[in-house]
């Protein structure tokens, strides 16, 4: 009996452990691996880590060159997110390398990369894979002689203040970030070929990227607002990446700045506490019916509906927007219609099937800044009329019916007259 009780308690205590894992129903990350150069960061950046732990994340700190680290075991990923606070690492320990990090992201997991001045080639490579290029000069830092932090007395103006945020509530939260963010580190530029990467925090127009120790001999390659200080990527599989050139930005030093709010909000976004949409109950049926048919006929009237919810970090809330569109698509959209919403997450539209048969798709391609992309497609064939679905008697054809029957009658009479009249 006692044994049974023990098993029961064990089982019940295990259940929450399973349920907190990353799942489509609960998209927020839970298990985070933090790789650091040395464990001092744990205390120097404790405010940031503290805000994560208080929101329920399980942080696991490892040295970047720890030979026992690995992202997956037996083909299963051990973590939902990876934080690289190890700008100077030359080689990861264990089984981690650039390719495995890319695979990690490719399978839908999130990543935060923080570099610093003297960032190693390895970190630069990871960043390049994500679509941003750090300034190639290893000693370069972002310098701004106008918008520098007042508290910094050094005079080289490398601790800069910036408040050039991306205008997206979903990424940075609806509450305005009052104080500027203090930043000390290297700048990066976005790879123009990569359309997924976004500048979240860019430097002011007076900034430039150069080595503060040496004299500027030729014009700096990165200047002005082309310099990105913090960038995010949302991959096509909705994995999210945050890249910044400053590890110190996360540290406890900048008390009076907007750093804490900024970083908290953006890590909420990166760890899928915000801006994650899901579409459920995709249905379509003929108007006046409720069952989903296997095939439509041309010129049928149909109704398409979908429910879209947004993850708020704890529960799914109805997503309200007026710009969700559905396409009735066969090689090109034949019907493109904006879905109307009932403000409770239910979207629907009624339209007529075009007068073309073929294999169509209901497509909803919803991509909005900061939100995970919704790409729904549902295939449905559209058939032409059956042979007995046409009109039986056409009014326009009555003269022809008349002529046919009068011809028959005439022929009959003619035959009788011809045969029997002598």
């Amino acid at each position: 009996m006692a044994k049974l009780l023990l098993y029961l308690t064990l089982a019940t205590s295990l259940i929450p452990l399973f349920s907190v894992a990353f799942s489509p129903e609960n998209p927020t990350d839970r298990r985070v691996l933090v790789l650091v150069d040395d464990f001092a960061i744990k205390s120097s950046h404790s405010l940031y880590f503290g805000s994560l732990t208080s929101r329920g994340f399980q942080l696991e700190f490892k040295l970047a060159d720890d030979p026992n680290i690995g992202l997956q075991r037996y083909g299963q990923y051990l973590y939902d997110a990876l934080v690289l606070f190890c700008p100077s690492v030359e080689r990861f320990g264990g089984s981690i390398d650039v390719a495995s990090i890319v695979d990690f992201v490719d399978s839908g997991h999130d990543l935060i990369v923080a570099a610093d001045s003297n960032a190693s080639d390895l970190i630069r490579e990871v960043a390049t894979e994500c679509g941003v290029d750090f300034d190639e000069d290893p000693a370069a830092m972002v310098i701004d002689h106008i918008n520098y932090a007042v508290s910094n007395f050094d005079g080289d103006h490398t601790l800069i203040a910036s408040d050039d945020f991306i205008k997206a509530d979903v990424i940075l939260g609806s509450k305005k970030i009052e104080a500027p963010v203090l930043f000390q580190g290297i700048g990066h530029s976005l790879n123009p070929a990569n359309s997924l990467v976004l500048k979240v925090l860019s430097a002011s127009s007076s900034a430039y990227s150069a080595n503060p120790k040496s004299k500027l001999s030729n014009p700096p390659s990165l200047t002005g607002s082309a310099i990105s200080l913090v960038s995010v990527v949302q991959a096509r599989n909705n994995a999210r990446i945050l890249i910044t050139g400053s590890l110190s930005m996360f540290s406890n030093r900048h008390e009076k700045s907007g750093n804490e709010q900024f970083l908290t909000e953006i890590s909420k976004w990166v760890f899928h506490e915000r801006g994650h949409l899901k579409a459920v109950n995709v249905r379509h049926h003929k108007v006046g019916e409720s069952d989903e048919p296997a095939i439509y006929r041309i010129n049928d009237d149909l109704e398409y509906s979908v429910e879209i919810y947004e993850w708020s970090g704890t529960s799914w809330e109805p997503y309200v927007s007026d710009d969700v569109q559905v396409q009735f698509y066969m090689m090109s959209p034949y019907v493109l219609k904006t879905l109307s919403t009932d403000q409770k997450g239910h979207y629907s539209a009624e339209f007529k099937v075009p007068d073309v048969y073929g294999v169509f798709q209901f497509k909803v391609e919803y991509q909005r800044l900061g939100y995970t992309s919704l790409s729904l497609s549902k295939q449905i064939p559209v058939r032409p009329y059956r042979h007995n679905e046409y009109e039986r008697f056409l009014p326009a054809a009555y003269p022809y019916y008349g002529s046919a029957f009068s011809m028959m009658a005439g022929f009959f009479i003619f035959t009788i007259v011809h045969l029997y009249s002598k």
Binding site: M330, G358, Q379, H387
Partner: protein, 677 residues
């Protein structure tokens, strides 16, 4: 198990039987003599038994493929026919009639019911239902496999009657024997070759026979039967266009040569009007029958017949010949003018559609090559090589002119018909390989006339000389001819010996023909082409079943709604065996769609990716035959992809894929060739 033993017997018999049959047929006169029973019944019995043997022979000689491989469907198109037949038997006729197939031609879909000739499927389903009704538990596949041989057997019967109608029953028997084993026909009617042609040749010959019968008798009933034969033909094969052009041509020739008669009038009008109405019931044909250019000749001749009849009547009413001459001139001129005007207006207004590409390419063999690469790319549509005539006809090729000679010597309405059929179909056979099939019955019939007439002459010569001749020659018409021939031969020495030598020579040739036919059937035409067989290093047979394994893999390992892109040759097989959606298939109705696939195949990978994304392609199937030495793989077909793709998308240019005008696939190939998909 039963089927197996039966077919084995067949194979053994097939080698011996043809020669035996022919000889027994030809020696029939002698056998009468020895039995001393020369009654009509005796002859009938002999004729029926020969016909029965030929009937069986035609069936069993086509079973090589079942024997050697297994009971399965061959090649490409038959798979589609099989799939539709299966659908028909499972879902019933109305579902079949309205079937919209979303699995082929993704994403356009295809209205199967409206774009096929249902004759074959309905026939097979009907046989299936009949067998089921008789409590034979057969699978529909077996029915499909054996439909073509069954109809080949029926064709021999029709050939017999046709030969009897145009010449005499001896010619009919020889024709039946010829057509039973003629390789030109066997190529499309072996067991498993479940294609429209298998049924259509039967229907074609039946229509012609009934029409000739109607012309000979002037009977409304035969004309009606001919119209129904035509209906069956229309429902079975697009080659019905040949009938609807040949018969008017024949009528026109008769009109011009002054052989117009009331019989012809009745036969043609009844056949045309009823045949047209019936043909329009086939959805695929529909209003084409009165609107498209291919059918206009028949309509023109129809009106011409009325004018002729009218003139005849006026001539009968008018006693004054001068007045009639004037009237004739006015009427003919105005009739031609009205006809030409109607045709011109119809064509200009688009009511009468112009000729299709296939029709053009028949009249002008170079047309397809220049204008429609998709037609030219089909191997069946290539111009015929001289050797394949020899291969398919063997001695019939030499007997054909001889038969023509005999036909011209004894011109009648029927022989004129067979001569015209033979000549036109021989021309078409020269244009397209597959049309050898259409020419085969004509060649067999005309050759049969030659053989029958020659041998009858020779034997009657023998008999008159040996003084033991039987008084009554069994065949009346042949007898008088033979005697005239014999009197001519009287003057020549050694005529008896010469006749014997010639007879032996003829038998030698015929037996050679029989062995040749059997050899060709066994070696060349019984390969299913879906299972490859090759001779290994030690002469043993190696069988490659890769195709079916590949399709089976698709069926097992891909999601049910996966879309497979392949070159169109494999479309039918993928849908039938792999049960997956394909982008294009062997029904080449949408050139643009095929060109899109051709473009995807011949573009650089990133461009191809975009095209494939737009088509929702999940899998690409390519065939590479380099390892087994299989020559018709996708590398070989690649130039056609380029040509067809380039025909619609000028971005694709053929010279980009060639090196100095040569097609190379090794490392010296053109860079675009190497870098494309």
């Amino acid at each position: 198990m039963v089927g197996k033993t039966e077919s084995q017997n067949g194979a053994v018999k097939a080698t011996a039987a043809p020669a035996m049959n022919l000889e027994s047929d030809l020696f029939s006169n002698f056998s009468f003599k020895s039995f001393k029973l020369k009654t009509k019944q005796q002859e009938l019995l002999l004729r029926v038994s020969i016909l029965g043997l030929v009937y069986i022979l035609a069936f069993i000689t086509r079973l090589f493929s079942v024997l050697r491989y297994e009971s399965m469907i061959h090649e490409f198109d038959p798979y589609f026919n099989y799939r539709t037949t299966l659908f028909l038997t499972e879902k019933g006729f109305y579902e079949f009639w309205n079937w919209f197939d979303s699995e082929s031609w993704y994403p356009l879909g295809r209205i199967i019911g409206g774009t096929l000739y249902p004759g074959l499927m309905v026939t097979a389903a009907f046989i299936y239902w009949t067998l089921r009704f008789l409590r034979f538990a057969v699978h529909i596949r077996e029915v499909c496999v054996l439909t073509a041989p069954f109809f080949a057997s029926n064709t021999t019967v029709v050939a017999y009657f046709f030969g009897k109608e145009i010449w005499d029953s001896g010619a009919g028997l020889v024709a039946a024997a010829f057509i039973a084993i003629c390789p030109g026909y066997i190529s499309r009617s072996v067991a498993g070759s479940y294609d429209n042609e298998g049924v259509a040749i039967f229907a074609l010959l039946l229509t012609f026979y009934l029409f000739v019968k109607a012309v000979n008798t002037g009977s409304l009933a035969w004309a009606l039967a001919s119209a129904f034969g035509y209906f069956y033909m229309v429902s079975a094969w697009g080659g019905y266009v040949f009938i609807i052009n040949l018969i008017p041509l024949y009528v026109l020739v008769l009109l011009i040569t002054g052989r117009y008669s009331m019989r012809l009038y009745v036969a043609y009008n009844c056949m045309y009007v009823l045949g047209m109405l019936l043909a329009m019931q086939i959805r695929f044909v529909g209003f084409q029958h009165v609107q498209s250019g291919e059918h206009m000749a028949a309509m023109g001749v129809f009106f011409l017949m009325q004018v002729f009849y009218f003139l005849d009547w006026v001539k009968y009413m008018l006693s004054d010949t001068k007045l009639f001459q004037a009237f004739l001139r006015i009427t003919v001129t105005s009739a031609i003018a009205v006809g030409a005007l109607a045709l011109g207006v119809g064509t200009a207004s688009g009511y009468i559609s112009p000729w299709t590409g296939r029709f053009y390419s028949l009249l002008d063999p170079t047309y397809a090559k220049d204008n429609i690469p998709i037609i030219a790319s089909v191997s069946e549509h290539q111009p015929t090589a001289w050797s394949s005539f020899m291969f398919d006809f063997h001695i019939l090729l030499f007997l054909f002119p001889a038969g023509l000679y005999f036909c011209f010597k004894k011109l009648s309405d029927a022989t004129i018909f067979i001569v015209m059929y033979g000549l036109t179909s021989m021309y078409f056979a020269g244009v397209m390989v597959r049309l050898i099939l259409v020419a085969t019955p004509a060649v067999c019939l005309i050759s049969a006339i030659a053989v029958s007439a020659t041998i009858k002459n020779l034997t009657s010569l023998l008999r008159t000389k040996s003084k033991t001749a039987v008084a009554g020659s069994s065949k009346g018409t042949g007898g008088s001819k033979a005697s005239s021939k014999a009197s001519f031969d009287q003057s020549q020495p050694f005529q008896k010996n010469g006749a014997i030598a010639l007879l032996l020579g003829a038998f030698y040739l015929l037996s050679k023909y029989a062995t040749h036919c059997t050899w060709v059937t066994s070696e060349a035409y019984s390969s299913p082409s879906i299972v490859l067989a090759a001779r290994g290093a030690h002469g043993n047979r190696v069988i490659f079943d890769d195709y079916r394994e590949a399709y089976f893999w698709l069926r097992q390992n891909t999601p049910p709604d996966a879309k497979v892109m392949s070159w169109w040759d494999y479309g039918y097989q993928i849908t039938a065996m792999g049960n997956r959606t394909v982008i294009v298939d062997n029904n080449t109705w949408n050139n643009t769609h095929i060109a899109t696939v051709g473009r995807a195949m011949s573009s650089y990978e990133d461009e191809a990716y975009e095209i494939m994304r737009s088509l929702d392609v999940d899998y690409v199937l390519v065939v590479f035959g380099g390892v087994t030495g299989y020559s018709s793989d996708d590398i070989n077909k690649f130039l056609w992809m380029v040509r067809i793709g380039g025909g619609v998308f000028p971005v694709i240019k053929e010279p980009d894929y060639l090196v100095n005008g040569d097609y190379r696939v090794d490392k010296g190939a053109a860079p675009k060739m190497l870098n494309c998909l």
